[in-house]
Each structure stands twice: as C-alpha cells, then as structure tokens.
C-alpha cells in the first residue's frame, strides 16, 4: 500500500517537473535573438534592418553591403531578429528604419528623422528592445535583458546630450562640458566589464595621449584589454598610437620592478583581508561611488550625484563589494 502510494507520488512529481520544464522552455526566450515592440508613425515602413559596423569609425558609414538581417514589424509593433548566425563574441550593429518608399540604404543623422540606434550583439545575445512613439523614432528606445546594451546606450546618449549642449555654448563653457564628458567617459572606460563599451567610451573621451595622466590612462587601458584582438581594438590602436621614449620606458620598467618587489615583500607581512587595502584597487568612479555608499546613499541618490544610470550604479556597487571582499552595502556603512 505504502509502496504504491510512494510510486504514485514519485510519478506525479516527475510529471510536474517535466511539465514545468516544457513550460519554462516555451516561455523563456531562446538565445540569439533581438526582439521587442516598436511604435512608429505611419510615414515609416514597418521593417527593421540590422547592419554590421566593423569599427567605431564606421558608425556613420552607409554602404551597400552592411545589412545582415531584416525583420518585419507586425501590426501591433512586434519584431524579432534571429541572430543565431552571428559570431560568438560581441560586435557592433546598427538597427535602422526607412521611410515608406525609401531605399533600405538610407541613413539620416540628426533631426526628427534620425532613423537608427546602435547595439552590441553576439550569437548568444538575448536583447529586448522597445520604444515609445517619439520623434525621432528611437529617441525613447530602451534595452532590457542586456546590461551591456543598457550601458552602451547610456554612453551613446551621454555623448549626444553633451554634444548638443556644447554646440550652443560659449567656447569656455563648451571646454568645460567637454572636459566633464571626457572625465565621465574615462570613468566608464575604466570600469566597464564589456570591452566594447569600455572601448567606445575611450574612443569618445578625446583624451590627449601625449599629456600627463591621459597618456598614463591610455597605457593602462591598452594593457587592461591587451587580449582583445578584434577589429574595434585594432582600429583604435592604429589611430591612437602614443610616442614612447624607449630609454625612459626601461627606466620606468626598472623602477616598477623594484617598487613591485618591495611592495610584494611588504604586502606579505600585512594582513590581506582589510578592505582598506582593497580601496586602492578601486577606479576613480568606483571610489566616488564608494564614498557615497559610506554615507548611506541609495542607488538613485548615487545615480543623481554621479550623473550616471541606475544600472551603472548597480554594476559599480557589485564591483566595489567584490573588490573589498564585502558581502553587503551594510558592511560598507560599518567601515566608518
């Protein structure tokens, strides 16, 4: 009796589990897709084109052979790109629309007809892209399910906004805005875990390689991403070479080795798990966020103070906690 009851329970459990699995696989989106809902005015054709952008210098290039996929927008605005054919690693793409009757190879930069948005995608990406009815059509676009694209879109928007503010400003104000923007971009370049987001920020930060901290920043940026062998990094490295004084370089290398060895010996004697030692590993932006965390600031307050998005704040916070070997932000408060 008991055995047959146990058998029944086991059978029911197995069936439930199998059904739940089937349901989950049918509901959750598969890998390699860009999907979402797009609201457009009637003047636009209900089609989206996906173009491959080989380098950041080609973002405003329009050519015959760039479109790699097309998706129809249905009557309620839904669309789907199957991007399972793309390379594994992230590449830069542009999604654009065209007006009714226009050739698919139409690009409008600026104004109410600006018809494109950039995104990063790879074979396994699952990207949800939605917009609200607006003019230009992608002004209110948002990305979900892809932190990298949220961050990338934030950087793109930041550059456009700063650019448009600077455009109508006096030269001194413009210089100030550009410097502020360069600082923010360098912070993103410094902290982003996605190589293309970091590179795009660095590409636009307009830092002067031959001068002081910027040259140092550039060197450390190059070193950090030295493993990247894609066309984006190659183009960036080719267009931004820094003059190196070789005799000086050997001197700095020698000093670095001595300092490193001394630091290693000294460091071994010290207790390792102190957060204070980890603070030195924080980037400039992370340190700023860390100081705000110590005051008990919320993500929203930090986002406003640093003028960055909530998702960026979250990624900074998780990196800070990991670098300082802390489990929660409450522990940051206890550091005071």
């Amino acid at each position: 009796m008991i055995v047959s009851l146990m058998k029944k329970v086991f059978l029911i459990t197995c069936l439930t589990f199998a059904l739940a699995n089937c349901w989950a696989s049918s509901v959750s989106p598969k890998e390699g897709i860009i999907y979402g809902n797009i609201e457009l005015e009637d003047r636009w054709a209900p089609e989206l084109y996906l173009s491959y952008i080989p380098t950041f210098d080609d973002m405003h290039l329009v050519a015959n052979g760039m479109i790699v996929a097309k998706a129809d927008i249905d009557s309620i605005g839904n669309f789907l790109f199957d991007i399972g054919f793309l390379p594994e690693e992230h590449n830069l793409f542009r999604i654009h629309i065209v007006k009714q009757g226009d050739t698919p190879n139409t690009l409008t930069i600026g104004g109410k007809d600006e018809n494109y948005v950039f995104l990063l995608a790879g074979r396994r990406s699952v990207i949800e892209m939605n917009n609200e009815l607006s003019s230009p059509p992608f002004r209110k676009v948002s990305f979900s399910k892809s932190v990298d694209n949220q961050m990338f879109h934030e950087v793109v928007s930041m550059i456009i906004t700063a650019d448009s503010i600077a455009m109508g400003s006096s030269s001194s104000k413009r210089k100030f805005i550009e410097e502020q923007m360069a600082d923010k971009l360098k912070a993103v370049a410094d902290t982003s875990s996605n190589p293309l987001v970091a590179l795009y920020a660095a590409h636009n930060s307009c830092f002067r390689f031959s001068q002081g901290n910027d040259a140092a920043f550039y060197r450390s940026f190059k070193e950090k991403w030295s493993g990247q062998d894609n066309s984006y990094f190659k183009a960036f490295n080719m267009s931004n070479t820094i003059e190196t004084n070789h005799s000086g370089m050997w001197y700095y290398l020698f000093v670095a080795v001595i300092v490193g060895a001394a630091g290693f010996l000294f460091g071994r004697k010290k207790e390792r798990k102190k957060p204070e030692s980890g603070i030195a590993t924080l980037s400039v932006q992370e340190r700023k966020v860390f100081e705000l965390l110590k005051t008990g600031a919320t993500n929203q307050q930090i986002a406003e103070e640093c003028n960055i998005g909530i998702s960026t704040v979250k990624s900074h916070v998780s990196r800070i906690l990991s670098k300082l070997n802390l489990k929660s932000r409450r522990e940051v408060l206890n550091l005071n």
Partner: protein
C-alpha cells in the same frame, strides 16, 4: 439694480475687447519678431569631381542655425563633414560608400566578411532583401544650432569617383 447689471456687462465687454486686441497685437508682433535667411544649393557629383567646400556666412547673432544636407549617391564614395568658423569639425558627419561590402555573395549565398577575413554564413537572414537591386544610397544630415558662432561655416564634400547629388539648405533665424 438694472443699471448696475448693465454697467457690469458693459465693463465686462469692454475688458474682453481690450484684452483680445492686445492679445492679437501680441500674436502679430510675435509672428513678426523673427526673420530668417536661407541659402541652398544642389551639387551634382561626377566620377571626376574634386572635393568641394560649400561655405555660408553667419553674419550676425542668430537664434538658431539649421543645416540640412541630403545626398543620393549612385556610385563611389562621398564623405560629408561640417566645419565651424574656428575650424572645429562637428561630430555629425556621414560617409557613403557604394563599394564597401561587409556582406558578399558566394554561390548565391550571403556571407558577412569581418575585417580579419573571417566569413560568416548569413543563411536566410537577408534573403528577403535583394541587395543587388539597390541602386542608390541616401545619406542625410540635419543639424540645429542655437546661438551659432559667427563667421564662415564650411560643408566639406569629398567625393571619390562618385556620381550622385548633394542638396544643402542652411537657414539662420534672427530676431527682427
């Protein structure tokens, strides 16, 4: 009592008439408070066309400067850039290239060719677009600048064996 109602009515009508008049004159003044100057050109490009510097002058402080560039290119490469009077290039520039191909056809099958030469089979993703039939490329720039710097602005058009046309319109909006 009647007199009181009558006088209130008259006062009300008088107030409404006066305010309507002044509102109307405000609207009229507002309509006339800005003027604009416009300059436009259509440049035809042939295979042997040399780089062209199209210039326009912002002579006095304007509320807004609108630059609209529309291009239709059938063959070749064209780079369009806008330069401020101080020589600074605007971020908005466009590059059109009918020869550039990231996507090529091998045995009627489309492939994406990356910069490192790697070929990726695009399968059915673009079969519904007949790329061979696309005969022209359109590239437009639209820029609005408030308080535009005074002086000579330049739109630099650099064609390389290009055929097509570029239309330019610049409009400066001034206070009367």
């Amino acid at each position: 009592m009647k007199n009181l109602v009558l006088s209130v009515c008259i006062a009300l009508i008088a107030t409404l008439t006066t305010s309507q008049k002044s509102f109307g004159s405000y609207l009229n003044n507002r309509k006339d408070s800005t003027i604009f100057t416009e300059k436009s050109a259509v440049i035809s490009l042939r295979r042997d066309s040399k780089p062209i510097n199209y210039s326009f002058e912002v002579k006095k402080r304007s509320n807004r400067l609108d630059i609209k560039i529309e291009s239709v290119i059938k063959k070749g490469q064209v780079l369009i850039e806008i330069y401020k009077p101080n020589g600074e290039k605007l971020r908005k520039s466009i590059s059109i290239d009918t020869e550039f191909k990231s996507v090529i056809n091998v045995n009627s099958q489309p492939y994406l060719v990356k910069k490192n030469g790697e070929k990726i089979n695009l399968g059915d993703s673009i079969k519904s677009i007949n790329l061979e039939r696309i005969k022209e490329i359109k590239g437009d720039i639209s820029e609005s600048i408030s308080d535009a710097p005074l002086g000579k602005w330049i739109v630099k058009i650099t064609p390389v064996k290009a055929s097509g046309k570029v239309s330019l319109t610049t409009t400066s909006h001034y206070d009367r």
